[in-house]
């Protein structure tokens, strides 16, 4: 039996800062005023903001305690499927904190921002190289924002051709945000089912693709963790009717350096820097969802764009067909620095190894837990594998019970009840970050929980026990929500 990381220990309660506040308590000394006091016109002032008054120790304890309630990838394994919760190397933070980057001002002008512009230019080139596309925008703030950007460009493309299209094909194994992004652009999502082996059948697409359909949004690898091996045929079908293929690259961690989406029929693709490129995910991120395009869509990219002339860099906005600006200034620059640091520290071979290891780890888990948990699609997977609770159901144990119990063992639960095509889905994505020892510990924990499901199902239904907050009453929370503190 492997020693599991989860144990019980003392956790401290913590009040809201406003409850701890006392009049006159203060953590800073303001420098002595060297100008005369002047009063502002009443029209320029409002009510005094209700800020808590606290000592430095109050503040330090507050945030230290809150951080101890948290679970992050720095605490333990975080196999949240479809989210690529990989380790965020500390060197990324060191580079982003460099004075030249951290203190760069978005209005400083090209002349005084050459380093930052060069970084953006190079990052765009690296992402273009990795994905097999011509050009990249770094502006979108996250994956779904990237999808929207891609959809806006497709919309602009059909507008320019003189005939707008009204529909878009979305498979049941696409990311959940895809239909929303398309609908926001005015396209009607047409849902299609994946085949019995979990991937798309070209005939299904041929049956719905017509000249009023803008194209298809494909997540590849898909949300079952399977590679859409018919992608070239599907792209040919869509192109033959004048449509475009949108690639959701959120699962790029499985194919970096192995497959270039731009070379297998995809016309536009977004990446998630906060997944594949090790920038912070969760905890406020912020995210970043660059979009890569081929020649056909390049004129529609958002502005400003970074260009290189001789040895200097500048922003250009003179792009008549652009969809315009989609973010304030240039996007989340601090995140670009982190992703750039990651790409440079890994190198080309390192990125290739990353995907190989991510796929190997997922397949190792799939093979090790097959039989313990039901595996609806038993075939080689990519970076994640999807089980469900069919075996445990005879003991009336469901996916959520097992996920909650995993917390007691010291693991963040996997993604549950997604993708929707698998009833009671339990979706595990270990990423390349975890060692074999840590993965074995996880496998052992899931096996132990499956055993508990047989021997003590009543206990499992009440889990977790070791967390600060135990099983929540979700029913009361939903029926009678308390929406403020």
């Amino acid at each position: 039996m492997i020693q599991q990381p989860g144990t019980s220990g003392l956790v401290l309660n913590e009040a809201l800062l406003w409850d701890k506040s006392r009049d006159g308590r203060c953590a800073i000394s303001l420098p002595k005023q060297d100008v005369d006091r002047a009063t502002l016109d009443d029209s320029l002032t409002g009510d005094i903001p209700d800020l808590p008054q606290l000592s430095e120790l109050d503040v330090v304890r507050h945030y230290t305690r809150l951080s101890q309630w948290n679970f992050g990838v720095d605490t333990g394994m975080y196999p949240l499927g479809s989210c690529t919760m990989k380790y965020n190397p500390k060197t990324n933070e060191v580079q982003a904190a460099r004075k030249g980057f951290a203190e760069a001002h978005p209005l400083a002008g090209d002349e005084f921002s050459q380093g930052s512009l060069k970084l953006m230019y190079n990052l765009e080139r690296y992402l273009a190289e990795l994905t097999g596309f011509e050009a990249v925008t770094l502006q979108p703030a996250a994956g779904a924002h990237g999808e929207l950007t891609g959809m806006l460009m497709m919309h602009a493309y059909f507008a320019k051709k003189g005939k707008q299209r009204s529909k878009i094909i979305i498979p049941d194994t696409a990311h959940g945000t895809n239909p929303a992004s398309a609908a926001l652009c005015g396209f009607e999502p047409i849902n299609v089912k994946s085949g019995p082996d979990g991937i798309l059948d070209p005939e299904t697409i041929a049956a719905v693709m017509d000249e009023d359909t803008a194209g298809i949004m494909v997540t590849n690898p898909n949300t079952l963790g399977l590679f859409e091996s018919n992608i070239k045929k599907i792209a040919d079908i869509v192109h033959s009717k004048g449509g475009l293929v949108y690639g959701d690259g959120a699962n790029m961690n499985a194919i970096m350096g192995i497959v270039k989406p731009g070379e297998i029929g995809i016309d536009v693709l977004h990446l998630n820097l906060h997944k594949t490129f090790s920038t912070p995910h969760g905890g406020g991120g912020p995210g970043s969802g660059p979009v890569a395009v081929g020649k056909r869509l390049e004129p529609f990219l958002p502005v400003p764009r970074v260009v290189k002339e001789l040895d200097s860099y500048k922003f250009i906005t003179d792009c008549p067909e652009t969809i315009g600006k989609i973010h304030t200034f240039y996007g989340h620059f601090g995140i670009m620095v982190r992703a750039y640091a990651y790409i440079l520290s890994m190198g080309a071979k390192g990125l290739l190894d990353t995907s190989r290891l991510a796929v190997l780890s997922a397949n190792y888990i799939k093979e090790s837990l097959k039989g313990t948990l039901n595996l609806p699609y038993d075939r080689p997977c990519m970076h994640e594998c999807v089980f469900n609770d069919e075996i445990q159901q005879k003991n009336h144990i469901t996916t959520v019970d097992m996920a909650k119990r995993l917390l007691d063992y010291g693991f963040h639960p996997p993604t549950i009840y997604f993708p929707l095509v698998v009833h009671g889905a339990f979706m595990v994505e270990p990423t390349e970050s975890e060692s074999k020892e840590d993965i074995d510990q996880f496998i052992d924990a899931v096996k132990a929980i499956a055993k508990e499901a047989k021997e003590d199902p009543e206990k499992l239904r009440k889990a977790p026990f070791r967390t600060k907050v135990t099983r929540l009453d979700e029913v009361t929370a939903a029926r009678k929500p308390c929406l403020k503190g």
């Binding site: 009840y417 939903a478 029926r479």
Partner: protein, 132 residues
Amino acid sequence: MKEMSDLNLPADVKYTKDHEWAKLSGDIVTIGINDYAQDQLGEVVFVELPEIGDTFSQGDEFGSVESVKAVSEIYIPISGEIVEINEGLEDAPELVNTDCYNDGWLIKVKPENTSEMDNLMDKPAYLDMLKG
């Protein structure tokens, strides 16, 4: 989750493949979700219903039932106009779980054509469908 033999499926209502029930009395059809549906959904936390006066065709989506697990669309078993909705569900959505055929009904419909009731399943046919 209930065993098949534990399901409460009254013989005096008709069933749809999407697990709604419908009962004609006089010229009004009362509609709800059946015991199988409420059991699969788990504890219902919110029911979204149409407005009185709305009209639907048989099989149209007319609202949704939200449980802790999922939001499920509900489909109307018969074409017609909504004449009454169960307003009690706003404060007590749990009635759908505790009493799905009586206090937990969803809508009352004035049907266009009562013969559409013949397209629905009776208890034995519905049970056969569930058993697959």
